[in-house]
Symmetry: D2
């Protein structure tokens, strides 16, 4: 069975494992203040064009989201998010467990707009009994979105402007950031992301690391004492260097971007194969996740060799199915899949 | 500089790294349902003599403590703990952040007794206005304690009996469990721990793993749906197999116990060296942590070559200092330290 | 200005004030264990046909909702509610502040159905990754709903059956219960409400009392130690008897129902007046809240003498406006309003 | 039976009841924005010498404490309090339920000192691993304390200075403030309290009102959007005017202070009677609570006619017992008690 189910079925990029092995018996202080973390921080600051930014390493995405959001909000505030946002759908109420409502905005493709933020805030702050409803306190987006779609620089700028008007910090969940920034469809750079958000994170788990997400806080004043929050929410790894080493490797010689770019290229080839075979695509993803609507017969035949993810009903008896590539996807597996897709047509 | 500061300054046991390397590009499903986790679970169940127990893997100790405790308690309940307990002192209020008060009991050496639990419960449940105070809902202990001390089988049995009388689950924080069970001073086996607690965890981070703690719930009914809690609190690792692989290796060929036993032996040698040199020890630790009271001069001289941890003021102008060994401590470093301790005397 | 804005613009029914005055300098123990609370409890148990039910008095609706819901749910659970439910819309995230997500279900008229509950649960519990989403743990409805609509006995029975199938407690917010039970449109009695829910509350604040809501728990096992929760969430009134006295008066000589019935009759007369005058009504309310769609001109003319509440945009340039009656509404004010409505038509 | 058990066994001062009756059927807007609340606010601002202060009315003490403290703290912070503080002992973990640890400081008489605050902060902020422990975020005191003792102006000034040095807001729980300010032993005025704290509350429940506490925030910037918090935590009374009316009456013609002063005079007479009778007093209370150590025989004899509160064991076979007076205590009851105390001696 070949897995195209998600982007976390393997371990980590071999260069990371080499470095972990090489440094394994070195002795370093705990909790992320070692020299590997320091080196990784510097490389990330440089890559972001933010030499003063704070950089913290956390183990996983849900943990990162709940820690950042709880650090930014006051108790009476909620977080605006697309209804499809990961924090709203797939984190078992982690945000609510920290006391905050997710204020969901309708979304077709996973993105939200500056206009939506403005309208929500206008209605809330204009209401005579505004204190009977949750105050919008920040905005959460994911880039790429859960649907694989991307914000353009214009859209993100517009969203940031709306946030600024209402004093709302903008937080970008970059669990798959590498796959977004290296899409041929993207006009955003890492420096744009850093400049147009208040806090964001660079996903490691899905982009070549064993685990680990790097939180970048352009404006550290927003979350003073953030290390307390990491510790309190259970996110402070004793052997913090494990994440420092991983991000240090990922941000050396452009590794993070080159391995993600490869995965996107592979995903677009799969997309093209489905197109050519006349199968309807679901949504406009130009990143490492591809969504296609298959008949049961098509699913069965592909399912003999490939693992994919069921996304939901697609209408007309079809099912929306997700195929993911990753830094670890092998070209020969992509070739095989493309051939088998082509065969479906006949 | 040679580190005796704590037991998490290195990476992991080489056998673990070998296995991680060997399996690195294998594809497995995420979130802890892969075959490595399954295999590790079976080995742990067998070692505990609890074939029906639930076994879950979490990344770190604070995360484990807050997740288990929040899963067991109802909102109006608190957790009884020694005042020196890790949850009371060194987790940044993680338990309170999940809504529960730590009900601290006085302790000289890090342990608490069945008598203390009975007295607390008798006073609480006997009070006419009991609902104005927090209801004791469970008991937390660490074994070994934060002071390196150990419960005897008689003490633990007595504590468990007191818990049973008041319907309180007993949770054992085993962050350093391996170092406790392999102490020559211990009359408790892993099976005793499993039998005399309701939930406990087998520490990996400090006992040979890169990271990871294995929660063993003898009575799964106490925390139904525990996987929801793990996910909600940010503890569900995407690549769950990383922990399965580590615990699988640790519970193969007795590795967990043999590497911990070695560390305890080294620690007791260091203890003996301090004794011989006439330096007063602090407390009765027979595990991998040793506490000794040093003068400033002694600290300075040892500090030239060795990193240790300042524990607090010791009276008479002395300072309590902690020396830790671990699975990774090298015999030659222990020998050097012993020699330098001996030299202090002269 | 005559207020039809809401049902809490006056103090309390004069009989309550008389009794408060008469007993003012009596001495009683605090916290709701006095003889007035005891007497009120007995009367409510009898009226509900549940002699074993627990009855607790809390000060207000939001407090009651958050206390009951937090007492019933486990941390990984959420509460199913109509998207229009008070807990979802107008309580500033009180439920989320206690750690739980409100799982909203679409609703046209404020009610939800057994079928919706079944479908939600089927999808959740049938999912392979159910622990990545919030577990439905109970169902919240309000009766009458926020839109003034009513459940029929058949609908409520069906909803209760669905809850039972999935082990979900059903909680009924009865902030305006008196106005629901005395509607000519209602086929439900207080005993039906008691029998078809697990916990519900009898609203006092909006139905004749100064303040106070009486929580009735048919199955006390669902929320053992509920008095702890009341105290912890700040709802335990020192002079608890103030609520005992109020509910004792309300449940003497059918007062609660007779004063609510009068208000409903007045509301239906106002409804009829709007109908006759050809103004479109919004929704099918047969309780003390009436919703009508007015033009700006109509709003301005009525607004000269009457206070009403703006509910939202109504389409066609009209606005949905709420007129409320209450136990305190005077017949002459209703007559005046009816005349002025009639005049609008001409 | 005559109650000296606590200061909330009666209803309210008759002048309040008169005003509630007089205004009962008036119509006012809800939620505390009516003219009675407005008038009460102005009178309180004037009495405090803080015309710009925000004044909010909440129903009870626990609710007030939890709402204020949760509004002031960030998630990683705790509140410093005497170990005897009400929030630490008698609120069922309400502060912890809002996510914050109570950082208790030892206290003999219920007060804490500036030196204690400085020492705690110095140790915390000076620690290398400070983020592993809860950050002190504010200071809570009660005045009078739970033991009936009082801060002097010098002590309070010193405490405030310590708070200022570390940027900690000082919050004063004034549940019995009236009884403190009118003690002959007090050198503090209401204006001093207002000037030397950041937030405090004027207790109504125990000082003449049916219920209600008036929160005064000298520096509204500390808790912006405080009305959201009141609503979210269930403390926003629909008929807010009920509290406005009560505080308006209490702050008219010095009523609040004159009725409290009378109670203190009565309490000091009782104290004197115990002294004269040679019974050992417990602590130095010069307010409306008096603590005395009685033998079982003395308790039994007084218990035939009087209700008092058991405070705890007093040593030497004696029990510490509390006698409380209040605004409602009748002089004839005090005389009778004094006579019976005198009789005990013989």
């Amino acid at each position: 069975m070949i897995y195209f189910q998600c982007d976390y079925v393997e371990g980590c990029h071999p260069k990371i494992l080499e470095k972990l092995t090489e440094t394994n018996l070195e002795q370093t202080p705990g909790y992320g203040v070692d020299r590997y973390c320091e080196s990784a921080r510097k490389k990330i600051q440089t890559a972001c064009g933010l030499p003063e930014a704070e950089v913290h390493f956390l183990v996983g995405g849900t943990q990162t989201n709940l820690t950042v959001i709880a650090a930014l909000l006051r108790p009476w505030q909620g977080v605006l998010s697309a209804e499809t946002g990961h924090i709203n759908c797939h984190e078992t109420g982690a945000i609510e467990a920290s006391g905050h409502k997710v204020l969901s905005l309708p979304s077709q493709d996973g993105t939200i707009t500056g206009a939506q933020v403005r309208e929500y805030c206008r209605e809330h702050f204009g209401s005579g009994i505004k204190e009977h409803t949750v105050q919008p306190g920040m905005v959460y987006i994911s880039h790429p979105t859960e649907n694989g779609t991307l914000y353009t620089k214009a859209q993100l700028t517009e969203l940031k402007n709306a946030c600024r008007e209402y004093g709302l910090p903008l937080f970008i969940d970059g669990a798959r950031l590498g796959y977004g920034l290296t899409s041929p469809d993207s006009d955003l750079s890492l420096q744009d992301i850093a400049r147009l958000s208040d806090v964001f994170y660079i996903g490691g788990t899905k982009c070549g690391a064993m685990f680990g997400e790097a939180v970048v806080a352009a404006n550290p004043a927003l979350a003073p004492d953030f290390r307390y929050m990491i510790k309190q929410r259970g996110g402070m790894l004793a052997k913090g260097r494990l994440m420092g080493i991983q991000f240090d490797v990922l941000f050396t010689d452009n590794l993070y971007f080159s391995i993600c770019e490869k995965a996107v290229r592979q995903a677009l080839e799969i997309r093209e194969a489905f197109c050519q075979a006349g199968m309807p695509l679901y949504g406009e993803s130009h990143t490492n996740q591809q969504f296609v609507m298959l008949t049961q017969g098509q699913m069965d035949r592909l399912g003999e060799k490939y693992a994919y993810e069921i996304w939901g009903p697609g209408g007309d008896g079809r099912t929306i199915v997700r195929f993911c590539t990753s830094w670890a996807t092998r070209d020969e597996d992509v070739e095989a899949l493309k051939k088998d897709i082509k065969a479906l047509k006949m």
